[in-house]
C-alpha cells in the first residue's frame, strides 16, 4: 500500500525547492520497492515530480489531477 505524502501543508507555508522537498520528505527515508502517493495543489510541483523520476531514482506509476488536487504515485527503484 502506498504511503501518502501531502505536500499541500508544506506548500502552504513555504517554497521549498522541489528536489530538496522530494529528497527531504520522501527519498531520505524510502526503500527500494516502496510506493508513495504525493498530493500537491501546485501544478508546477506535480509536473516536476512527474518528470524527475529518472534523475532521482523512482518510477511514476500514475498521475492524476482533479479539482485542484494533483496526485502522483511513484515506486522507489
Amino acid at each position: 500500500m502506498a504511503k501518502i505524502i501531502d505536500f499541500r501543508k508544506i506548500e502552504e507555508k513555504c517554497n521549498l525547492p522541489k528536489i530538496e522537498a522530494i529528497q527531504t520528505y520522501i527519498l531520505n527515508q524510502a526503500h527500494p520497492g516502496e510506493e508513495y502517493e504525493i498530493l500537491s495543489k501546485d501544478p508546477d510541483t506535480w509536473y516536476a515530480i512527474k518528470n524527475l523520476g529518472e534523475d532521482l531514482g523512482y518510477e511514476v506509476l500514475e498521475d492524476t489531477k482533479e479539482d485542484g488536487l494533483y496526485i502522483i504515485k511513484i515506486r522507489i527503484l
Binding site: 513555504c14 517554497n15 522541489k18 528536489i19 501544478p43 508546477d44 516536476a48 518528470n51 485542484g68
Partner: protein
C-alpha cells in the same frame, strides 16, 4: 507598438512562434523547472547566474544586461514575455530589471509556469537556438530602485509608504528567514520602522493569477498605500518585492514605486539600523 504589462496564457498560446515575441522563462531553480519542460520556444534566464552580479551583491550592470539580452536574441523593440517558477517572483524581478534598463515592450505571463501547466498547454524540453543580437540600452531609470540610505532618510516621512511584503512571521520578527531558506537569515528579526505588512500573496488568487484590479486597489488603499505617496517595497532579497512592484506600478498605475532590493537581508544585518518588532 504598445505591449500590455500583463498577458494571459490563452493570449500567449495563440501567438507562440510569432517572430516579434521572445518568451523568457526566469527560474530560481531551473533544474526542476525549465530543464524538465518549458513553453515551446522559451529561452532560459537563471535568476542567480544571469540577473545578479558577482562577486559583489548587486543586480547586473548595464553591460551585463546588454550581453544577456543579446545572448537571448532580444532586440530593443522585441516584445518580451516573462514567466517562471515560484509564483513568478523571479520573472517579476526580471521585469523590474528590464524596466530599469529601459526595455519598453515587456509583459508578465499571468500565473506563470503553474497556470500554463494547469491548462495543459504544450511543454517541451527542446532548447531553442535564437540568433544573437547586439542589444543596446537606450536609457537607465534608477528611480525604480531604492538603496539603504534612501530608506533610512525617509523613515516616518508621511509622503512615503513603506511596504513589507514578507510573511507576518518575518515581519513580526518571529523568524529571520522562511524555514526553507535558513542560509538567508539576518542577524536581527523585525521590520523597518513604519512599514506596513502586506504579504505579496495577498495580491494573487488561488491559481496564481493576480486579483482583479479594483480589489487590489481597495486592499492597498485601506492599508494606507495610496498613489499620492512614494512607495518603497522590500522583502528579504528583493524578488517578492518585485512582484508587488509589478502590482502597484503596472496594474494599479502608481506613479512612484521603488524596490529596495537590499531588503531585510541588508537592513537586518546593518549595524545601527533601527528596527521595530511585533
Amino acid at each position: 507598438m504598445h505591449a500590455p504589462p500583463l498577458v494571459e496564457a490563452e493570449w500567449l498560446r495563440e501567438r507562440l512562434g510569432s517572430p516579434d515575441i521572445v518568451v523568457v522563462e526566469v527560474d530560481y531553480d531551473p533544474d526542476t523547472a525549465y530543464r524538465v519542460g518549458h513553453i515551446p520556444g522559451a529561452v532560459l534566464v537563471d535568476w542567480r547566474r544571469d540577473l545578479n552580479k558577482y562577486p559583489e551583491r548587486d543586480i547586473i550592470d548595464r553591460d551585463s544586461f546588454e550581453a544577456l539580452m543579446s545572448r537571448l536574441g532580444v532586440e530593443p523593440g522585441s516584445h518580451v514575455i516573462l514567466y517562471g517558477d515560484y509564483n513568478n517572483w523571479f520573472a517579476a524581478f526580471a521585469y523590474w530589471i528590464m524596466k530599469i534598463y529601459g526595455h519598453e515592450r515587456v509583459s508578465l505571463l499571468n500565473g506563470g509556469r503553474s497556470r500554463w501547466i494547469m491548462l495543459d498547454y504544450p511543454m517541451t524540453r527542446e532548447e531553442p537556438s535564437r540568433k544573437r543580437t547586439s542589444y543596446k540600452v537606450a536609457k537607465v531609470d534608477l528611480t525604480l530602485r531604492a538603496y539603504f540610505l534612501d530608506v533610512l532618510k525617509r523613515l516616518r516621512d508621511p509622503g512615503v509608504a513603506l511596504v513589507d511584503v514578507r510573511s507576518p512571521e518575518e515581519y513580526k520578527g518571529e523568524i529571520t528567514a522562511p524555514p526553507e531558506y535558513p542560509n538567508e537569515a539576518a542577524q536581527r528579526g523585525g521590520h523597518i520602522p513604519g512599514a506596513v505588512n502586506i504579504p505579496w500573496k495577498k495580491a494573487v488568487q488561488e491559481d496564481g493569477r493576480f486579483k482583479p484590479v479594483e480589489e487590489l486597489r481597495r486592499m492597498y488603499e485601506q492599508a494606507g498605500v495610496t498613489p499620492d505617496k512614494e512607495v518603497i517595497i522590500y522583502c528579504r532579497i528583493g524578488e517578492r518585492a518585485a512582484h508587488t512592484f509589478f502590482v502597484l506600478k503596472e496594474l494599479l498605475g502608481y506613479p512612484k514605486v521603488r524596490v529596495y532590493d537590499g531588503s531585510w537581508s541588508e537592513w537586518g544585518n546593518m549595524i545601527g539600523a533601527p528596527i521595530e518588532k511585533g
